[in-house]
Amino acid sequence: MAARADSKAPSPTEPAELPVRQMIHLKTKEECRLGNETIQVWAVEMPSKHAEGILKVVKDRIEGQDAVDLQHLRRFAKPKSLPKHVLGKRDLIKEMYAIPRAWESTPLSVMQAPSTAVWEYSVPAKPRINHKPQTLYLLICGTNLISLSELHNLLLEYAPFCSSADSWAYPLEIKEVTVPRQAPTSPAQADMWTDNYWPTFYRKTNPFGAHPATIAKAEEDLSHPGYESVGVEEAMILAERAAHETQAMGYGVGPGCTIIERVDNKAEILAVAGDARHKALPSTAGMTDAQDACSGNVMGHAVMRAIGMIGRKRLRVASHPVSSKAAKAERTFENCGLDHDEKARDGFFLDLPVTPLEEEYFAQDNIKPDGYLCLRLEVFLTHEPCIMCSMALVHSRVGKVIFSERMTQTGGLTAEMVSNDTGPVGLGYGLCWRKELNWQFMCWEYAQQEEEKAGKAGKAIPVGNVDHHQATSTASANTNPDQHLALTSAPTSAPAKPTAMLSDDNANVSSFASTHV
């Protein structure tokens, strides 16, 4: 337990050899994909005192507004809170109307409303210093629900756009505005969209991934573990140690894995495994796989080994009904005429410990009896797992995965597809949270803090959209430019500069980057 003691109390005065790492929750595939989708809506400017009336008209007279949820957008927006390109060039006709008129400063008088016989007092508006009427923009609805001419005719029927006895008509000018289709998933994203599209709310929910509160709770548990618990730093160091040990023995190429069970602030380390893909197969009888001309036994990936160890531990501590069920399944193999050479099977699956460190944790019967696969366990990895290992984690029903290093050529967990998403472009599978699959888990990258990272030679991984305004979506270049928030398409921005198809991260590929981990 030396590792535990060491990492528990890092002396603050000690010069930090390891860079400070922090957990960064991964964007899900949906966040990367749908979060970039936009929709066209109609918007109209009007004096603010008519806003509610026109909203009611819009709600009553335009059907189908419930189909698209735009609750993340402000329905009314003050002109000053809208981006310049939405306001556009000020309409000169409208400026002409901007002299005080009846609907903005009606003198106290008795007047008759049109088409009624009732006389009533009209109250003058409070005098304004600049004498400019206060106006609001109303987000009407998606452009697909009503045509421009129909909307125009509809609004002309109602005040302030119809002229009446008490007022000239307010000039009706309908704008087509591009707005984000989906709710933002972070406050930073909401701010960015407010600056670029339309005032946007962040409501602390996330339809495309784990709930922000759940993520925050998990981050707290992992970053500040209690006395009896295990934190992310300690677990990661253990995974790194496991990786170094198998690498030193010539079995592995660097990745390692730790699996932890956390119940009520207590954590147990269930399995620790290093990569062992180059451990000779029984069939090759000691021949190294360099002679076998292959990149190693895929079953030797650290994740597969650790999951296998959990299964073997479960068998070991299983109660009678469970173990007899497993034994029955084992006999099925004989019924099917499958001879099982245990040694060969273990040599292939590599789900037994091969180093003293692995043995230390494998030997402990600290797993809850009769649990299900790796249900809700926490998995700590030195590298982003390959597609196979990522899907193995899905099949095993894990709860949380934290990895250190992204593998842009082979990794299966990150979802970034285009360079204006929040990380380097990878394969984009995002297997940790795909609604097509029947299991999702939270996933973090455990990386150095942003500024340190940026400072390191050439490999900046931007975190958060704000830094990435200038990046152009390759997707928008290749598919339909309107479907993504290609920020450069805004009139105020510089013209779009399409980046290369693949990001720089993929351009300089070291040999390890293309290794499956």
Binding site: E37, A326, C336, A344, L373, C386, A392, T410, N438
Partner: protein, 259 residues
């Protein structure tokens, strides 16, 4: 209860496959495919014609036999054989229940048999015949091992990695892609699964009645989720043909949100 990829095919919906080129205006739901250059079309036609079909059906018959044996032992009826130079060198059925390891799929069990006697490189000259499309995990493993070709019976619309949900065999990646041929004895593969679910369900119903009151809270948290058995689940025999529909047609896209 079965915990492998095959738990999801009780009612065999019509198999859908994206049109390969007609999505120029709207990308398919998995933008992944439309963005990545690949040696194959965006969605490979896994139900295309199989050259020399009778020869391959011979080996698929052996895979079906493995699945039949598994079904007779109350195991998920998915079977596979690996064939090298016309000879079966590896056979597999689902091993998740025996190992309590959710990743021990039939393909992996078959691979273990191969590796007990052969060097790994033999796989580059080996074909896989499996009754149900390999899942995403197996599809990736097979690609990393360098399998020559994969022949399968029916699609796995829940986690298939060779066309059912994703195209792991053909997407951009560091390993060479492999060809996939689907639809060999498709109806039989589907019926095997349906028979299994009906059979499990009858057992499950009695069991569920018996244990319903004994399940404690901790067990609910940490034990396998027991699917609620439906009473009167009948064995359906009608199998819809392979169709080619466009699943993206009614997806929300820019300026044409779902109405």
């Amino acid at each position: 209860m079965a915990i492998s990829e095959q738990t999801s095919i009780p009612s065999t919906p019509p198999i859908t496959s994206n049109p390969t080129t007609s999505t120029t205006t709207s990308p398919p739901p998995d933008c992944h495919d439309s963005l990545m250059p690949s040696q194959f079309p965006a969605v490979p036609a896994v139900f295309g014609p199989v050259p020399n079909r009778a020869y391959h059906e011979g080996f698929m018959r052996k895979a079906i036999e493995m699945a039949e044996l598994a079904l007779a032992s109350d195991e998920t009826p998915v079977g596979c054989v690996f064939v090298h130079n016309g000879e079966v060198i590896g056979r597999g059925i689902n091993g998740t229940n025996a190992s309590l390891n959710g990743t021990r799929h039939a393909e992996f069990v078959g691979l273990a048999e191969i590796m007990a006697k052969h060097p790994q490189r033999i796989l580059t000259q080996t074909d896989l015949y499996v009754t149900v499309e390999p899942c995403i995990m197996c599809a990736s493993a097979l690609r990393q091992y360098g399998i020559r070709a994969v022949y399968f019976g029916c699609l796995n619309d829940r986690f298939g990695g060779c066309g059912g949900v994703m195209q792991i065999h053909a997407d951009r990646g560091v390993d060479p892609p492999y060809p996939v041929y689907g639809g060999l004895f498709r109806e039989e593969a589907i019926m095997l699964l349906r028979r299994f679910y009906v059979q499990e369900n009858e057992k499950g119903w009695r069991q569920a009645m018996k244990t319903a009151r004994e399940v404690s809270l901790t067990k609910r948290l940490f034990a396998a989720p027991e699917p609620k058995p439906k009473k009167n689940r009948e064995l359906k025999t009608e199998i819809l043909p392979v169709t080619n529909v466009n699943p993206t047609a009614n997806l929300t896209r820019t300026s044409t949100p779902a109405g």
